[in-house]
């Protein structure tokens, strides 16, 4: 079985990990968001790709949900004393990865090649593809004006209401090598339980990717990024409300309905199934809380089993 997952950071990485544990890591391709990428202290940081990479390499600080665990902060500390930016927390091992990536990018290698090399060096068998090798940046419109994603999310602590989101450079971005094939050739494509605005949005904004999803004969299965009215992580519920959407799994389902065939809600949200069906999505009920790494294999297997039973699989 070949599985492709369009994914953002933490929620996406957990689905990728769960499916890899269930179906074999090499069966899975992750197509990751680069709209959050940011240059800090001259380093090219790809937070979402790194969260996937660190999760699969068993390096992620699972408590915080970002970065490498057991880090030290000498570099950031002295950089701060010297006037460098410290609002984006970078631990030592994290900086080691960014140094290598940045040097390879400066050598002219595309991000997709760099990402593949990093994954391979860390023994990660899952293929991790950036949605695009071109520059695509998520810009968040707030009452105080436009902010780059990390300015909004980290520097200002996602306190500013989000009036809209756009993706700078998207019109000219091309899917990275392998992305369209991974969508076309997969037996099963997932839209991860990632933020539809700022995690899936920048991926789907790359010309060709949404068309590739639409052209598939096999299923595209979206997972609810909200369980019981709470986002498992991040500011999705607030973003939905601020933009006039219902801050529930159903509100999130509306945002991905045009790209998916099926929508998985947690048993806690089973009552939403009829409303999901009204959106033209086949409702699927399965446990989708994947916070604990020890539960991920069974969540992944459960998900594939229920999709198989419901004939959503080929």
């Amino acid at each position: 079985m070949r599985i492709t997952v369009l994914c953002g950071g933490l929620g996406g990485s957990r689905l990728v990990d769960s499916l890899g544990r269930a179906a074999g890591a090499e069966a899975v391709t992750a197509i990751g968001n680069v709209g959050d990428d940011v240059e800090i202290l001259g380093l090219h940081v790809s937070p979402d790709l790194d969260t996937v990479l660190y999760t699969l390499a068993n390096l992620l600080d699972e408590e915080r949900g970002w970065g490498v665990r057991d880090e030290t902060y000498g570099a950031l500390g002295l950089a701060g004393e010297l006037g460098g930016e410290t609002w984006f927390t970078l631990g030592g091992r994290d900086i080691g990865l960014h140094l290598v990536r940045t040097a390879m990018l400066r050598d002219g290698r595309p991000l997709s090649e760099v990402t593949a090399r990093l994954a391979s060096a860390l023994g990660v068998a899952t293929r991790i593809l950036p949605a695009t090798d071109d520059s695509l940046r998520t810009i968040v419109t707030t009452p105080d004006g436009d902010l780059s994603f990390q300015d909004w999310f980290v520097r200002r602590g996602h306190r500013d209401p989000v009036l809209g989101v756009r993706f700078e450079g998207a019109a000219d971005a091309r899917p990275a090598p392998g992305v369209l094939d991974a969508i076309h050739e997969a037996d099963l494509v997932f839209l991860a339980p990632s933020n539809p605005f700022v995690s899936l949005g920048p991926i789907l904004a790359v010309p060709g990717i949404a068309d590739a999803l639409a052209e598939r004969s096999g299923p595209v299965v979206a997972l609810a990024p909200i369980v019981g009215g709470r986002a498992l992580r991040g500011p999705l519920a607030e973003m939905l409300a601020a933009q006039g959407h219902e801050p529930t799994a159903l509100g999130a389902a509306r945002l991905v309905a045009e790209h998916a065939d099926a929508f998985v809600v947690d048993p806690e949200d089973e009552k939403l199934a009829p409303a999901v069906a009204e959106l033209g999505l086949r409702p699927v009920v399965a446990p989708i809380v994947m916070v604990d790494p020890d539960h991920r294999a069974s969540v992944g297997r459960g998900l594939l089993d229920v999709l198989d039973r419901e004939a959503a699989l080929p």
Copy 2:
């Protein structure tokens, strides 16, 4: 009193520190070597300037004689796992400084301005000037061919005999802003007890600097980089021998005789004074072992006192 010191790394930094402790940090200007500068993991590293900076900021690992003390190595460790260069050891705080410097250089700021900002941020009152803002690189000729300085010194552990040294880019290098004035206007100029070939050599190779020394009416005082036949640090004794020079303070004196008026030997080498005088240098005998930070103020004061007594001072 205004004092200017032409200096390399460790030996130079200790003289600068000693004189600063004796005469006041703000009385001293250090003109540092950039021939050893190297790009590692995309970072611009200036080992000699940093040794001076770390010494004066009380950050230096005095045991090792380089880098910041109490470092952690997460960045270098993960960079190494990912295929990055690890032959040049960079600790965490050290990387923090290199990140800030590299970002400022990429912004188009000259190294002299960047160095001044770093020193100021660390509360260092001594002025630290790179000899030049232009690219000047020390190349060591060995039986195995030409090597960049750090390739020879660190990567290959300075095992290769040195047949010669040259300074790539020197012909087109201009003294950094303030360098010539610091030489002209100082009451006293020192040539630090640094390696004449690879520490003082690249400074003196910048067109205009040797002339500025020659044009001075005040004294230029060189310190012996060898005490009792041993270099206090580094491979100088071997380099002298390999190039047919006597591996003693006298051999080192010959190499700086054309630039200096006086030459200071340690009391242990008092017997060399007559031979130093024969080179046309006024021999001065004073304790010059400055390894222990607690001894530096008294070494600095002793040095200034003896130079004063011998009428070498204005």
